[in-house]
Amino acid sequence: MEQYVAGTLSADVALAVATHIDLCPHCQRVCQDIHNDQADVLASMPLEQDDTDDFSALLAEITGQPQLDKPRQKAARELVKVQINGREFAIPRALSRLAEQQGKWLQLGGIATAKLPAGDKMHVSLLYIDKGTEIPNHTHLGLEMTLVLSGTICDENGEYGAGDLLINTPADTHTPHTRADEDCLCLSVLSAPLKFNKGLVRLLNPLQQFFY
């Protein structure tokens, strides 16, 4: 959380954290406190003796520029929604701008993914899982972060509801699935592809850029 506030997390990871914070009042408060602390550190930073830079030219240059006008009260941004499988999901603020630029949904059985234009190092996408659907057993070649936006995901380790963040590493193998009566929308951030373990589904390993 400190790293998130300081802005030292990688962009893709920060996106998942920001989206969680949108959904979690507890973390909103924690975040505000950390933010204030870090600002205090900056404001009370002692100066070294040899910090004798002459900033006067910069000062003059800046104050020579026009200021921006206060914008009119921003109309509350309309909630972005995504549609998939005949369902409509409201998207948290942190994801709104990106979700508006989502790629096409690629569907395979009960699973659909749409790329978000966020990743440089990581693969960031919306992941929709229909009710009663299982993602085949897989291992992770890197970091997998799954933030549940709506519905519930279950795997061998537990159940996760809206706002919950699942983090899996190369040490983890699992078979996530939805409930029989409820579908699920997630934000998925992958640093490396998944590795499917069983049978023909392994074909997804080399082809998976089309599905994830």
Partner: protein, 199 residues
Amino acid sequence: MTISAESAEPHIRTGQWEDALTFVALHADKSAYAELFNYFAPRLKAFGMKMFGNEQQALEMVQDTMLNVWKKARLFDPSRGCASTWIFTIARNVRFDMLRKKQSRKDDISADDLWADGDYPELEESATDQWETMLLSEKLAPFFDALPVAQRLVMQKVYLEEKSHQEVAEELDIPLGTVKSRIRLALDRLREALDDTRS
């Protein structure tokens, strides 16, 4: 903070920076801004040196941050937090965007990275038959069938019969390299085919 007598630093009272920002916002007050500037610019530079370890970038951050403070002063809302928090936020965002700009984009997944020479671990878990049928019937089957015979044969042995590349090479009496290149060609075709179905 303790302030010694010989320190050049101005004494700070609560609300001072908030007031200064308000003057800057309302009257484009240059002396109020200079006060803010003289206090925060060197601290931002020290902060930037810690973050970047590089003077030029630290100075760039100071410049962008302080320019934003001047330009956007009218957006500062004292009811939502202190001036220092606001300035910190601007600096954090400036720094983050500077780093983003420097990073090169895109990494691509190569099939070679994934290919552990045909030996994938077999797990006890229930096979997902539902998935296999879907995968084959819905997406890949038509393209699979359209592969050249030699490629299809290799793919079938590797993926359906779960043989290693080496086993397939021996069975068909072809070099290992040929097995690999056929697989690669077949995967390329499947990729292209899938890509076409997207639009």
